[in-house]
């Protein structure tokens, strides 16, 4: 089960059990739903944007360990970042978990992944990529100001 431990690193299990920023944000300026057809997981993302910057972010919802931990780590990673920085981080994350450069990827230098690197094991589990990226797709939709529910698959 060595592969499994690559996927479910201890930090992931910790974030799943104790998700950070897991609450409603009363002063959110944006709110976005995300939905994973495969697991039936749902996430609601709350964002407080100011001056092109993610001043605060939180989430709610129920999901598998990967999607919950991914949302939790994501909120920590993007808080305080500008929209551009957050999107660049998504690209780097996408590349990490899929091994492929995302279609909309810019050409600039990759930002450092920091804690997000714990999701590197996802690459070996293609069906779990959607779990790992649900929160991120939802974030992107929120930043782009789309209205409809995002669904992966």
């Amino acid at each position: 089960m060595s592969d499994l431990r690559d996927l479910y690193q201890e930090m992931i299990l910790d974030h799943q059990r104790h998700p950070r920023n897991f609450c409603v944000l009363p002063d959110a300026t944006r709110q976005q739903e995300g939905y994973n057809l495969l697991c039936g997981d749902r996430i609601t993302l709350y964002l407080k944007l100011r001056d092109n910057r993610i001043e605060n972010i939180s989430f709610q919802g129920s999901g598998c360990a990967i999607s919950t931990a991914s949302a939790s780590v994501m909120t920590e990673s993007v808080k305080g970042k500008t929209i551009e920085e957050a999107l660049a981080l998504f690209e780097a994350f996408h590349e990490l978990v899929t091994g492929q450069v995302s279609p909309g990827a810019g050409r600039g230098p990759r930002p450092s992944l920091g804690k997000l690197a714990v999701f590197s094991g996802v690459r070996e589990f293609p069906v779990r990529v959607k779990c790992a990226t649900l929160a991120w797709h939802t974030l992107r939709a929120a930043l782009e100001g789309r209205q409809e529910t995002v669904s992966t698959e």
């Binding site: 089960m1 592969d3 499994l4 996927l7 479910y8 299990l13 495969l38 697991c39 039936g40 997981d41 749902r42 129920s62 999901g63 598998c64 360990a65 990967i66 589990f125 779990r128 779990c131």
Partner: protein, 424 residues
């Protein structure tokens, strides 16, 4: 593992006197010989699709290597032979489900298309705004969405029979909802999640008493139970070959001849017409009226090998043996700490839906997969049922004729492994 010290239920003992042993059937399924992630495959996703016996795979090969031609219109040897083989499957299906005539057997892509065909064509001929269609809260999306589409298009009203806390049809609610407005009752013979076997004969009797027609979604019944459509007296019966050891891409719609006669054709094209001119097109007789275009010839021919396989096993014996295995599995699963099993229907078969407290089914699926154990996790195309159960998703183990007590034991061992892995 402590679990192993629990004495096995008596059910696990070899079935003395049974016609065949699941263990012995495994040899006939090439895929069961292959290792998955370095381990022997425990395939418990049969409600999604079953594995195929060698006879079916061979029938496919033989068709393409020896008989392949288009059917029904050809005068040459291959076409004649292919047509014969094709129509032999229709006869085999007719006998397998006890239909009166091959004219009542229509080949489709699967259960989903069979239901869509009825929803579309029956509604066009027989439904008026204000009429009602009755389904249940345990239906597969394939037996919900086609009716929703018809309702939206034709101003028909969709009503839903609730379930009991056991996961069975709430009979008194059913009787209350049934009225002279009800024109169609469409119900699963067996739930693909809870395994509930619905009392179809009684449903048909009650529906007919108010003048409603009954479609039975038999996708999860035909692989597990003897089915006799005349005995059930249902008006339509839909099922999929791929869930009963046959190839993908083949479904069956049984319909009573007089209804099929009265219904307009569904798709237009070759084979379903008698003559075409720009002024006037006349339709072919049954069953061809509903089979437009080149059918899935090779798979339909090979489907017969699956029916022969099931006939050899004897559906009553399939039912009996699977019933024992299901009971064994229910007992074994109940013993695992934190396991929640959904539904306790008195009459069940096929599938067991469950969750393990503290582990999302999707994570459980991944852990089991590493052990070579294939189960399904998710909403099983039955979201309204998930809503009713109050969960987003469940795990589901579903059985086939080749599943053994060892498969169940490996599943249970896998659940313990998952608990361990997630520090529970």
């Amino acid at each position: 593992m402590s679990r192993l010290s629990v004495p096995r239920p008596r059910l696990a003992e070899p079935n003395a006197g049974s016609k065949w042993q699941a263990e012995a059937l495994r040899d006939e399924f090439p895929i069961l010989q292959r290792p998955i992630r370095g381990k022997g495959l425990v395939y418990l996703d049969n409600a999604a699709t079953t594995q195929k016996p060698r006879a079916v795979i061979e029938a496919l090969r033989r068709f393409y290597e020896e008989l392949n031609a288009n059917v029904h219109r050809g005068i040459h040897y291959l076409s004649e032979q292919a047509t014969q083989a094709f129509e032999q499957t229709r006869s085999a299906v007719q006998r397998f489900i006890g239909a009166r005539s091959t004219r009542e057997i229509i080949f489709t892509r699967g259960t989903t298309e069979s239901i869509n065909l009825v929803a579309w064509s029956f509604s066009r001929r027989f439904l008026q705004p204000g009429d009602e269609i009755l389904i249940t809260h345990m239906e597969h999306h394939s037996n919900i969405v086609p009716w929703q589409m018809v309702c939206e298009e034709r101003g028909v009203v969709l009503r839903t029979v609730p379930l009991t806390s056991e996961g069975e049809l709430n009979w008194s609610a059913f009787e209350r909802l049934l009225s002279s407005k009800t024109k169609v009752v469409s119900v699963a013979h067996v739930s693909n999640v809870l395994g509930t076997v619905n009392p179809v004969r009684e449903i048909v009797r009650a529906a007919h008493a108010v003048g409603a027609k009954v479609l039975v979604d038999g996708a999860q019944a035909v692989p597990h139970l003897p089915v006799d459509v005349q005995e059930l007296d249902c008006d339509f019966y839909a099922f999929s070959a791929h869930k009963m050891y046959g190839p993908t891409g083949v479904g069956v719609l049984y319909g009573k001849e007089e209804l099929l006669e009265a219904m307009p054709p569904y798709q237009g094209g070759g084979d379903m017409i008698a003559s075409v001119s720009f002024e006037r097109t006349t339709y072919n007789t049954l069953p061809y009226k509903f089979e437009a275009g080149t059918p899935n010839i090779a798979d339909i021919v090979a489907f017969r090998a699956a029916i022969d396989f099931l006939n050899r096993l004897d559906m009553m014996e399939v039912y009996t043996q699977e019933e024992k295995l299901t009971k064994y599995a229910l007992t074994a699963l109940h013993e695992v700490p934190g396991v929640v099993i959904y539904g306790r229907p008195a009459h069940r078969c096929g599938a067991i839906a469950f969750n393990l407290d503290g582990i999302h089914p999707h994570d459980l699926g991944t852990v089991l997969d590493q052990e070579g154990i294939a189960i399904r996790t998710g909403h099983h195309c039955a979201q309204p049922l998930m809503d009713w159960l109050g969960v987003a998703a469940t795990a589901r183990a579903s059985f086939g004729v080749y599943n053994t007590v060892e498969d169940v034991d490996r599943l249970v061992a896998g659940l313990y492994r998952a608990r361990e892995f997630f520090h529970l």
